[in-house]
Amino acid sequence: MQQSASEASPNDHMRDGKLVTADGRPLKASLKTAERRRKIIAFAFVSPLLLFLIVSFIVPIGQMMWRSVDNPTIINTLPRTLEAMQDWDGQDVPDEPVFAALREDLAIAQENRRVGPLAVRLNYEISAARGAFTRTARTVADMEPPYKEQFLDAHRLWGNPDIYQIIKREGRPLTASYYVAATDRRYAADGSIEMRAEHQRIYMNLFGRTFAMSAVILVLTMLLGFPIAFWMAHLPMRYANLLMIMVLLPFWTSLLVRTTSWIVLLQQQGVINSSLVNLGIIDTGNRLSLMYNMTGTIIAMTHILLPFMVLPLYSVMKTIPPSYLRAARSLGANNWTAFWRVYVPQTLPGIGAGGVLVFIISIGYYITPALVGGQSGRMISNMIAYHMQTSLNWGLAAALGSMLLISVLILYWAYNKLVGADIKLG
């Protein structure tokens, strides 16, 4: 382009060494004006979707990530206590001024009905906190100074210096404690962070299991999906369509219906076990446990996620001309060499896209593990759901969710680095 500008013929319009239109406007500005209308129209078309995505996706995800570090309860409910604790040595039970401030905070909180959330929040950190706060808050109105003794009498927790350390540590607007808990760590007595005892670790093991199960599901969908996609791409149209319908069938049936049929098939008294017993392959005492465990989750999820592997593979295979295989064979490669050296490398974008899709969907999968997973087939999303719905520890759920989200992003980034291609679908 530069060359042609410097060698511009006398017919080209030039001003100050730049190309201009016939009326003297710079060419670039003119192009911009001409394109602007088109851009505005294009933007107007996508703006409803953009708005929808912002409202329904980006804002909630930001909210979730914010909630995993957000910590307003203590600082808002116990401001005087926190101020009084500034001089506290952090070792023993604090002195009278702290209790005076605590009494005043609790009295106000009791009036504003804010003791409950505070008690719940502190109970995440130390298990007796809920009882101590709710019970003491009911009596603070009748307390007379000095308060320390009365507090110590009201609940045994007030004699434990840990609660004051926790109040001081968590008396800040942001907290790391949810992430500390989500990574199976805890605060030691001296304030440092340490791993929990082996038998208390839940989340990291669950993350590990989730990733391992997703990897198994990924490999299974790949092994099962590749031949189907291959035949779909190479059979005559009517057979290919039949196969396509069979692959898409799972999409058209309700997840619950499908899962129910898995239960019918896989349970201990189910079709598969009964058939095996009737055929004499196993005796009735040794019925296989195919569900309510990891096996059940893997079987059901492989089935559900198979189309996500088959469709990208199929769309890539469809574009590989048969002449490549013919060329390879005419050049002296036998069937297997031609397939392995020429065909398979060309399906890599499909394998990559399908693999990333299946893996990412399966590490966040919730409903199937919940229905057929039992105890050993549960995945991290089930734990997140538990904290959302049952324990109501949203901060911890948000921390776990954020960790899941970040690991998905890291995976996707790694995939892009390795394969360097955009995800291809359909």
């Binding site: 002449s323 490549y324 064979r329 005419s330 050049l331 002296g332 490669a333 036998n334 060309q346 890599l348």
Partner: protein, 365 residues
């Protein structure tokens, strides 16, 4: 004519038939013998069975009946990768995930050739098509013509005796196609390999081939040298398919040895060479090349001479194409040479046009 009298042909199709659906034959009783070192072109419209023949020879399709032999050995049961035939495809079929060097190395590698020997051969093959500098590139980085050269080099790098080409120049533009035609022709002469070439482009076929087999309707209509094919077509299809042709339908009126008198629809009587026609009363198609008809200016006295009206003149530089009404047809084409002494004619003018009975061929109806 279909059987070539040669004691030792290299490739033989012996009564080969092929059907895909069991109802229709796409190749009907094909007999063809190709000599070693020959450049044979299968020419025909699409659906004429020429590509099917090539695919049977390469081993990607099996003959329903009949036998194909290479060097005297039947190959029906030999899989494609053991036939040792080089092949160039219409879309080049260069492996997109391999560099040019790796593409050329592939046939050598699967034959278990060592690295140094491989590199030597790759370099030589690329030099042959002037592509040495592209050894590290990927096919997508090359232009169509360059990809075609590489595909050619890949089909030749393992030194096959027989090379098949399936419309290899179909995707190139006109100028590139012409220069590649010469290049392929010269490579063939230089290496002495046997080439079977499939195309539907008659110019391509005439330029490159030693012999051309014209396919139509699953049969070889004529197998001949390029000049014979143009000058001496044996049936109406070949006459019409190769080059420009004036076609006139009529009935044989009388037979005089090698010649026949043919009565056309409008009653005019044309003397023609009896090539492929039966006895008196049979229908026939007369074929006359446009450049063999001429204006009669008094001196010449050809066997055939008729009154014609000039309908249209198209100036083409070296000659003037004129469309005439003559003998009951209005799309008779004659080429008027653009010479200094040529009469100037104008549209609407009546002229006298004639041709020799030698040049007018009476073919099948």
């Amino acid at each position: 004519m279909e059987h070539v009298d040669n004691s030792d042909p290299y490739v033989v199709f012996d009564r080969v038939q092929k059907t895909y659906d069991g109802e229709e034959l796409v190749v009907k009783d094909l007999n063809l013998a190709i000599d070693k070192g020959e450049f044979l072109t299968m020419l025909g419209p699409s659906g004429s069975g020429k590509t099917t023949c090539l695919m049977m020879l390469a081993g990607f399709e099996t003959a329903t009946f009949g036998e194909i032999l290479i060097d005297g050995k039947p190959i029906n049961n030999i899989p494609p990768h053991k036939r040792g035939i080089g092949m160039v495809f219409q879309n080049y079929a260069l492996f997109p995930h391999m560099t040019i060097g790796e593409n050329l190395g592939f046939p050598l590698e699967v034959r278990g050739m060592g690295k140094s020997e491989r590199e030597e051969k790759i370099k030589r093959a690329l030099a042959m098509v002037q592509m040495e500098n592209f050894i590290g590139r990927r096919p997508a980085q090359l232009s169509g013509g360059q990809q075609q050269r590489v595909a050619l080099a890949r089909a030749l790098v393992f030194e096959p005796e027989l090379v098949l080409m399936d419309e290899p120049l179909g995707a190139l533009d006109k100028n590139l196609r012409e220069s590649m035609q010469y290049e392929i022709k010269h490579l063939h002469e230089q290496l002495g390999v046997t080439v079977v070439y499939v195309t539907h482009d008659q110019t391509e076929a005439l330029t490159m081939s030693d012999r051309i087999a014209v396919f139509d309707d699953g049969r070889i209509q004529q197998l001949a040298k390029p000049a014979d094919l143009y000058e001496r077509p044996e049936n109406a299809f070949v006459a019409q398919f190769i080059g420009e042709n004036n076609k006139m339908n009529g009935t044989v009126e009388a037979v005089n040895g090698d010649y026949a008198d043919v009565k056309l629809a409008d009653g005019s009587l044309v003397k023609a060479l009896r090539v492929n026609v039966g006895d008196v009363g049979e229908r026939t198609t007369l074929s006359l090349r446009p450049e063999r008809a001429f204006m009669i200016d008094g001196k010449a006295t050809p066997e055939n001479s008729f009154e014609a009206r000039v309908e249209e003149l198209i100036y083409l530089g070296d000659h003037i194409r004129s469309r005439l009404s003559i003998c009951g047809t209005s799309d008779f084409i004659m080429k008027l040479p653009n010479a200094a002494d040529q009469h100037i004619v104008s549209e609407g003018q009546s002229i006298r046009v004639g041709w020799s009975q030698e040049d007018c061929r009476a073919l099948d109806a």
